[in-house]
């Protein structure tokens, strides 16, 4: 191992001129215990718990609340928090959010569900995405304000929307104008996951065809849904995400009722011609969605929101007002020029 010369550090100009390649990398003579940091980290995160904010968008009757309840196996949607199902459809798009704390395996999660009743329900749906866009930006703004404070909280409460589930109506034909408009406008400020709702109204072939068409339309309109191609970290990520992208949008069925099938209790919808099992991969893709959303990409959703969407918002915000901050000389050039 080549011993690189020491670098002189002079007080204010700290420059490790090139990281010195490890002298000990492969010749560690004994166990040090560096890998215990994983345990330490895990313990810490379990203690502090997680926040997760999910937004559901789609016109009424697509089974949004049911799906979320099925996903999180509990009555988290506002429908069950005391709101009557046959409440009048609001005249304008409202944003209603409700939070719950759920715990599993020692891990506490504060799940916030943001519902958007009234979306797409009016006769004239012009600009109905605006309240949603405004809400999302408001959360970013809140976080930014906290971050910019002199005395900051130890843990800034994170209300930013980490994931937006967009429900596509299972017409079997193609995406509606509203769908495309909404996704186009919001795919750059939030992670959008399009899903085909009430998939039990289509046969398997119809479903496949519909999916292809939808995917093609999304591609043609330049809509980058989550997981976005540009944020793939490495080859492994890319291949994993490619597989997922191929299967999206997931065609799902939601249900919070249990039925007896083949001696097992399963979540499903009972019809005259059989029981649609929610978690059966042959019947619908709910299990895939759940695994993708919760079991493998939950942290990634948060990270993309924080590192990319939030940073984009922040940069834009700081640039337009000439900044909120004392800035380094390089930034002075930026805002002056």
């Amino acid at each position: 191992m080549a011993n690189t010369p020491r670098s002189r550090v002079n007080l204010l100009s700290k420059a490790i001129s090139g990281t010195h390649s490890s002298t000990g990398g492969s010749t560690l003579l004994g166990y040090i215990g560096i890998d215990t940091i994983i345990e330490q980290m895990r313990k810490k995160t379990m203690k502090t718990g997680f926040d997760f904010n999910i937004m559901v968008v789609g016109h009424s009757g697509l089974g949004k609340s049911t799906l979320v309840n099925t996903l999180f196996k509990s009555q988290v949607s506002r429908r069950s928090a005391g709101w009557a199902r046959d409440e009048k459809i609001p005249k304008t798009v409202e944003i209603k959010s409700v939070s719950h704390v759920i715990e599993e395996g020692g891990v506490k999660m504060k799940l916030t569900l943001v519902d958007t009743p009234g979306f797409g329900d009016q006769i004239n749906n012009d600009n109905c995405w605006e309240p949603i866009s405004k809400f999302i930006n408001e959360q970013y703004e809140k976080f930014l304000k906290e971050e910019v404070n002199i005395t900051r909280k130890k843990r800034i409460p994170d209300t930013r929307v980490h994931c937006c589930l967009y429900f596509i109506s299972p017409t079997g034909h193609s995406l509606r104008q509203l769908d495309i408009e909404f996704m186009k406008r919001l795919s750059h400020s939030v992670n959008i996951i399009p899903i085909i709702a009430k998939a039990d109204t289509m046969t398997t072939e119809e479903r496949q065809e519909f999916k292809q068409r939808v995917r093609k339309e999304l591609e043609m309109s330049g809509i980058e849904f989550y997981p976005q191609k540009e944020f793939d970290d490495d080859m492994e990520d890319k291949s994993d995400n490619d597989k997922i992208r191929e299967a999206m949008p997931f065609a799902v069925v939601g249900s919070d009722k249990e039925y007896q099938v083949n001696g097992k209790r399963v979540l499903g919808r009972k019809t005259a011609w059989g029981v649609v099992e929610v978690e059966n991969p042959n019947h619908c893709e709910f299990a895939q969605l759940r695994d993708f959303l919760i079991r493998s990409h939950l942290q990634d959703l948060k990270e993309v929101t924080h590192n990319i969407h939030y940073e984009t918002y922040r940069a834009k915000r700081l640039n337009e007002n000439g900044g909120l901050h004392p800035i380094s000389s390089s930034d002075t050039q930026e805002s002056n020029l």
């Binding site: 040090i32 560096i34 890998d35 980290m41 996903l71 196996k73 942290q299």
Partner: protein
């Protein structure tokens, strides 16, 4: 179509809801950890202590490898900090370890300013992070964190008490970094003296109000071990990279004629405790404390220094933007003033230069005139001389012609007389 009603039931109203089945988000810590592992970790240690206390050796022993470098000389004029970064890997964990050494600490005759370079260094790391955080386009995610997470303060094994240099330095550093004091080369002290020494040190630290790093006791799983360790501070360590055969094993030890000090023997020294605490139990906590306590303190002080406040005297939230705008205008004003000044100076210089040049030009003209005049005078003189010469020449010519004429006449007359004579002769 745009009105929104935001009905929040955030935080306060979040109810706990029971789960009816396995959802799967308990894999969240694993997801988080996997991402961090892919990303790699960094850990930065600062070793402060006088030359010759075995800092480099201890680092080698702690991390089971041979970091390079020769021991430093004792004739440094001031304290400088040398930092080296190494990439270590154990199973699937990659660690970017940076070890910063103080070179020349305690070697000078006048040690009043020794702590200054260290404090400046630590501040510089905070500053770099702050600058990155304040940028408009920032990449905090991939930023190589150089802030010091732990400071090992090496105390010389005198057996008596802390030196005043130690106290002063630690006092200056305790609000900026996590200090872990250790007694170096502790094989020079006997067990009984060691106990007294430790007590003396702790009491001195307490009486001087030095805040050393306390291992956290809030997490039940590590609370017990941490609190016992807290009572063993400062750790008395011995470092060695040489291996000696004891029994049938090779162990790291120092061999003396009267016996062998085994580094990893808990009866001999506290090395194992130090390693346990520093790396295996509290590394993450050290990093977190640095970020949430020391860095935030630095940031708050720095921003306040720059004139930013959260609330003004009337306790109305001060818009950061207003302050910034005001500052910006001030700054722009200053900039403009400076520009004006420079312009003025420039104009003045130009004027001066112009004046100089004009002077020179005038001089040249004068010279030229003078020379011309001289030339003319000369010419005149010459002409006059010429004239006189011409006159003389004319006169001479005249005289010559006159003389010739006379001569001719005379000759003729003479000639004619000779002719006459000849003629007469003939006759």
């Amino acid at each position: 179509m745009a009105s929104t009603e935001i009905a929040r039931q955030a935080g306060e109203g979040a109810r706990a809801v029971p789960l009816a089945g396995h959802v799967g988000f308990d894999s969240m810590p694993d997801q988080l950890v996997n991402k961090s592992v892919n990303h790699g970790f960094c850990f930065n240690i600062l070793c402060v202590g006088e030359t010759g206390l075995g800092k480099s050796t201890l680092m080698d022993t702690l991390f089971n490898t041979k970091f390079e470098g020769e021991p430093t000389q004792h004739n440094q004029p001031g304290v400088t900090l040398k930092s080296n970064t190494y990439e270590l890997q154990e199973s699937n964990v990659r660690l970017k370890l940076t070890v910063v050494n103080t070179v020349g600490f305690g070697d000078q005759i006048n040690k009043e300013d020794s702590y200054k370079s260290i404090v400046e260094f630590i501040d510089a790391q905070f500053e770099a992070y702050l600058q990155e955080e304040l940028k408009i386009k920032r990449t905090l995610h991939s930023y190589h964190d150089t802030r010091i997470h732990a400071c090992l303060y090496f105390i010389a094994p005198t057996g008596h008490s802390l030196k005043s240099l130690d106290l002063v330095t630690m006092k200056k550093l305790d609000s900026k970094v996590n200090i872990i004091p250790i007694i170096a080369k502790s094989d020079a002290i006997s067990k009984s003296e060691l106990a007294k020494f430790k007590i003396k040190i702790t009491s001195e630290l307490v009486s001087n109000g030095v805040q050393i790093y306390q291992f956290p006791t809030d997490d039940e799983s590590v609370a017990e071990i941490n609190s016992t360790m807290n009572s063993h501070l400062p750790f008395a360590v011995v470092g060695s990279t040489e291996e000696v055969k004891i029994g049938n094993k090779m162990v790291k030890a120092r061999q003396y004629p009267w016996g062998t000090v085994q580094v990893e023997n808990e009866n001999h020294c506290d090395f194992v405790k130090l390693r346990e605490m520093l790396i295996r139990v509290n590394m993450e906590d050290l990093r977190e404390q640095t970020h949430t306590r020391h860095y935030e303190l630095y940031r708050r002080c720095k921003l306040e220094e720059m004139g930013f406040k959260d609330t003004d005297p009337d306790s109305k939230p001060f818009s950061l933007q207003e302050t910034y705008e005001a500052k910006r205008n001030e700054f722009m004003g200053e900039l403009q003033k400076k520009e004006e000044e420079m312009r003025q100076m420039f104009v003045q210089r130009v004027k001066e230069k112009e004046a100089e040049l004009k002077e020179a030009e005038k001089e040249l003209h004068e010279k030229f005139d003078r020379l011309k005049k001289l030339h003319q005078d000369e010419k005149k003189k010459l002409e006059e001389k010429k004239k006189t010469l011409d006159d003389e020449l004319n006169m001479f010519k005249q005289k010559k012609t006159a003389a010739e004429l006379l001569q001719n006449q005379a000759q003729q007359a003479g000639g004619s007389t000779t002719l006459k004579r000849d003629k007469e002769r003939k006759n």
